[in-house]
Amino acid sequence: MKSVKDVERKEYYLFSPFLRIFHWIMASQIVILFVTGLLITKPMNVATTEPTFSITSMDLVRDIHFTAAFIFCVAFILRIYGFIINKGDRLFPRFWEGHFYSETVDVALHYMLLKPHHAPFLRNPLARMSYAGLYVLVAIEILTGFAMYFMTSPSTTGGILFGWVNTILGSEMMTHYVHHYVAWFIILFAIGHLYMVIRAEFMEGESEVSSMFSGKKVLAHTPKDANELE
C-alpha cells in the first residue's frame, strides 16, 4: 500500500453549525444525565460519619440532572432551526421513496459482512433509521422526565402539559421504570453509533468523524443521496 494516494474526491457541505453544536451538547448532556440518573436511582452510600456536608448530596445530583435536562431541551431548538434552514441537516429516513428499501438492504448486507461494499451515501439509510429511533427514545425520555419533574405540583401548567404521560403509562412508578430503561437503550445506541462512525471513517475514509466538526464530507464517488442537497 502506498502512503500517498492520488484520489479525486468531491467535498459536500452537509451539517450546519446548528446541528453540530446541538450534537455535541446532546452527547455531553446524555453522559451527564445518564450518570446522575443512575445515582438518583441508586444513591451512593453515605461515606462519612457526618454526612451533612458530604458530596453525596442527593439535592446536588438532582439539580445537575435537571439542569442538564433543560440544556438538552434548549439545544433541541438549535437542531430544529438547523433542520429548517439547511437541507443537509434533514436526516429523516425517506420511507416514502421506493429506493430507500433496496438501499437499506444493500447497506445491511455490507454490515453483515456479506458484501464488500455498499453504495456511497452522504447519510446512509440504516444510519438515518437509527437516528429516527434515537429521537423516539429521546422523546420518551423528555416526556417521562417532565412528567415526573412537574408533578411536584400537578395543577400547574407543567403538570397539566405532561401529567397525561403518567395516566397513559398506568402509574407514576411505571414512568420511573420507562425513563430508566430507555436511558439504557440510549447508551446502547451510543456504543453502536460511536463504533459505526469510526468504522465508516476507517473503511471509506470519507471524513465521517470530522464531519461533525467541519460539517463536510469528502467522497470519491457520487453519493446516491446527493440530490437531496439541491
Binding site: 464488500p116 400537578p154 397539566i160 395516566t167
Partner: protein, 360 residues
Amino acid sequence: MDKRESLWEAYLKRGFSRRSFLKGCVALTSLMGLSTDMLSKVVEAAETKPLPVVVWIHGHECTGCDESFIRSASPLASDIVLTNIALEYDHLLSAACGAPFEAHLDEVINKHNGQYILAVEGAVATKDSGVYCMSGGHTFTHLLSKAAKGAAAIIAYGSCAAYGGIQAASPNPTGSAGISNFVGGKPVVNVPGCPPIPEVMTGVVMHVALFGTVPPLDGDGRPKQFYGNRIHDTCYRRPFFDAGMFAETYDDAGSKAGWCLYKLGCRGPETYNSCGNLRWWQGMSYPIQSGAACIGCSNKNFWDEAPFSDRLPKYGKLGDADKIGVGLGVLTAAGVGAHAVASIIQRNRRDNLMEEEHKD
C-alpha cells in the same frame, strides 16, 4: 324522615349551643382542607342545607376502609353517621338485614332520586357476568348501576373502588376493576388508599354534603386538597433525602436514626396522599414515620409494582435493569469489537482484490 333537618337544626334538637355549632364549623372547614376564609360559607351551608342522604354500598373488598372510617376522630365517625349525614343504607354499619333491608334500599333510592350521595367501597368483579361478588341475591354490578342511577354524586372509597384494588393484581382472576365505568357517567370522586386516611374519608363526604358539589378534583378524579401532593414532597424525612442520608437496611444505624427510606423502595416519590401532612390517627404517625417504606397504596396498579423493598424490579438471576444494562453494554462492546476485526479483514481483502484488478 320527611323533612330533612340541617346540621344547625340537628344541633338545636340536641340542645347544643351556637358556640359549639360554630366550633364544629371551624373544625369542619379545616377538616375539608379549606382555607379559613371559607368559614362563613361553611356556616351558611350548615345552617340551611338539609343533611344529605347517604347510601353506602360494598363490593369486592375487605371492608378495611370502614375500619379506617370508624376511627376518624375529628369529627368522630359516630358524629358523622348519627348527626352530620343521614346514612340510610350501609352493608356494614346497619343493624337491619335481610329482605326488609333490601326493600329499604329501593325505597330510599326512589324517594331521594337524584339527591342522595352514593358511597362505594370495593371493586366491581366483571368476569363471568359478575358472579364473583354477589349482594342481596344480585351481582354487585347490578346493585351498583341501580344505586348509581339516582345518585347526585358518587364517592369511590379506597383503591378498590377507584382502581380495582389488590384483587385486580395480575392475573386478576375475577376481572376486578374500578367503578368508574359502571356508574353511567355520574361524577365520581376517587378517594384511593388502602385504606384512605379516616379524616380524608369524612372530609370528602362532608364537602359533598355541605356544598352539594364534588370538591375540586385533579386529572385522576381525586380531591386536590387531599391528593395534591406527593408524600415525598410533604415528608418530614425529605431533608435526609436531599442530603443523601439513606437507610440501607431496616436494622442499620441510618434506619434507627430515622433517615430516608428511599433506597428501601419507599414509594413516597410516586404517591399522592395526605400521609405526610394529615398523618394517621389524629396526626400520630404514618408508615414512613414508623420506619416502614411507603408502598404507594393510593396509587393505581401499586399491587403489581413489586418489589416494594427496592427501586427497580429484579428479573430472576439476571438482576435488575442496571445489571442487565451493564451486561448488554459489555455484550454490545464485544460485538462491535468482533465486527471491527471482521471489517478489517474484509477491507484488506477488498483492497488486495482492487490492487490486483489495477495491475491487470
